[in-house]
Symmetry: C2
Subunit: 291 residues, 2 copies
């Protein structure tokens, strides 16, 4: 990328993730907070109707509605399908977007602290992530390929998701709100410095958690959950899970262990919104990437 001209800050893509929703409301009221000299910053409150009723979505998950075929399919007419097409008009069209960077602010019931989900492993994305984790050591960096093309951030090449947690759906946590806000400013300042050519090129190593696969809850033939995340794994996102270590516990107290062949690093452990998606956690591999 030569130069960043427009940046979009997005919140309330899921209506019950209040951190991003209330940050966008704040920025709509005080746009000078996110203004920078060298680029324009837009805000987008993505799913107002879901926010109003305090739910993730009205008809379907908005953040799975951005496949190019779906955006071009006139027969898709749920609230979120229409909203996705509207957003694609405002920020897109996908592939030829009017914005250079999208920052989509999410929250999770998993203990993921401050996480950046990359859209790709382009050198710009990796350098950006490396810089952030250097200046804000709490930040974890992930890359998850599978659902990329369905996400709102996929409208433009440099789309990033911020995930913060743990926080319950429908709740504001002041500590996470303030940390997310600080991270947004760090990011905007980085983009400004990038435009000004004042990013020092240093050789550094980035710790990247790379998606391997989803793991579902044990279920019976009716699809009903038969076990919970084990106490020893709960809130242990980004920590190593070794073969033989407890992963689930059944309702009558039997342990179910991780039967993989190598150490993995689970994330999105016990995310409320993923029960219906058949995901108890996503396992990642931890890699060191030279940037």
């Amino acid at each position: 990328m030569n130069r960043i001209n427009r940046v979009a800050l997005v919140g309330a893509t899921h209506g019950n993730e209040f951190t991003g929703a209330y940050l966008i409301k704040k920025y709509e009221q005080y746009p000078h907070l996110i203004g920078r000299d060298s680029f324009e910053t837009l805000t987008l409150f993505a799913n107002p109707k879901a926010f109003e009723v305090g739910r993730r979505y009205i008809d379907k998950d908005l953040n799975r509605c951005f496949k190019i075929q779906d955006l071009e399919n006139p027969t898709l007419s749920s609230y979120e399908d229409i909203r996705a097409k509207d957003i694609n008009q405002i920020l897109g069209p996908k592939g030829k977007s009017q914005v250079d960077v999208i920052l989509d602010l999410h929250s999770t019931t998993a203990n993921m602290g401050l996480t950046i989900l990359l859209g790709n492993q382009h050198p710009f994305s990796l350098q950006f992530a490396a810089h952030l984790s250097l200046t804000y050591p709490e930040v974890k960096v992930c890359w998850a390929a599978p659902v990329q093309s369905t996400l709102l951030k996929s409208i433009c090449e440099f789309g990033f998701v911020i995930e913060v947690g743990p926080v319950a759906q429908g709740v504001l946590n002041a500590d996470l709100f303030q940390k997310t806000e600080k991270l947004v400013y760090t990011i905007l300042d980085y983009l400004e410095a990038y435009n000004q050519g004042s990013i020092s090129q240093t050789n550094s190593t980035l710790t990247l958690y790379e998606y391997v696969k989803d793991i579902d809850y044990p279920r019976n033939d009716l699809g009903e959950i038969q076990a919970m995340i084990h106490q020893k794994l709960q809130f242990r996102d980004y920590e190593p899970l070794n073969p033989g270590e407890p992963m689930f516990i059944t309702f009558d107290g039997k342990e179910i262990t991780y039967e993989g062949e190598s150490t993995v690093y689970p994330i999105f452990i016990n995310e409320a919104a993923y029960y219906e998606k058949g995901i108890a956690m996503c396992v990642t591999e931890k890699r060191q990437v030279s940037v």
Copy 2:
């Protein structure tokens, strides 16, 4: 009460409070776990449709549908109104109920640990609560008068709510699940001992948190929230809040302090389901009651 003949264990009164929901599912499958010699134990899965879609309710809060006038009002026909009338047939009718004790299993995003909400201050209720907090010192006991008559547990005189937290809506927390289960057995064993006349009458003192009032979030003219629970108050349920201490923090970082005249003990701090009810927390007074 002379003798307990029937006890009802209720879960999923709110469809996204999974602890109670999955406990009831377990007990439906293994009824011997809740059977006791001297009384019959029923289970009720209160709001199956809301559970299915992972929401608190479909049309309205089921746990505010049990006012006697509403149960008798044939024009009320929302899903929850009809469900309330059905439940009143199964466990009630209210005032002449077929069950002697109701135990309604709830969860909360507030840090309320294991809490029992009493329906009244009848000597039986107070002795029961005193016994529980002696045998299970983690248990806190509250009494909240205002909405009593609208709750499911109000179908019978000795209706109790168990609140456990903090846990996000739509999430199972193994630790809280197991603690709640242990508490249920402790309660059933107490009721069994009561019937057998083997409860030793000891003079004891019960710590009772008595409801004083609700406090709402600071809001603007449109009703929009203007501040969050302060970091220093978050997760501090049952701890003293003194005049002048921080209660909220605005989105631009200004502290709002508690301006009451005496020390209070807030509970339900930052409960997700109460945002729409205009409740940021309930404040209580801490009393010692001789039992």
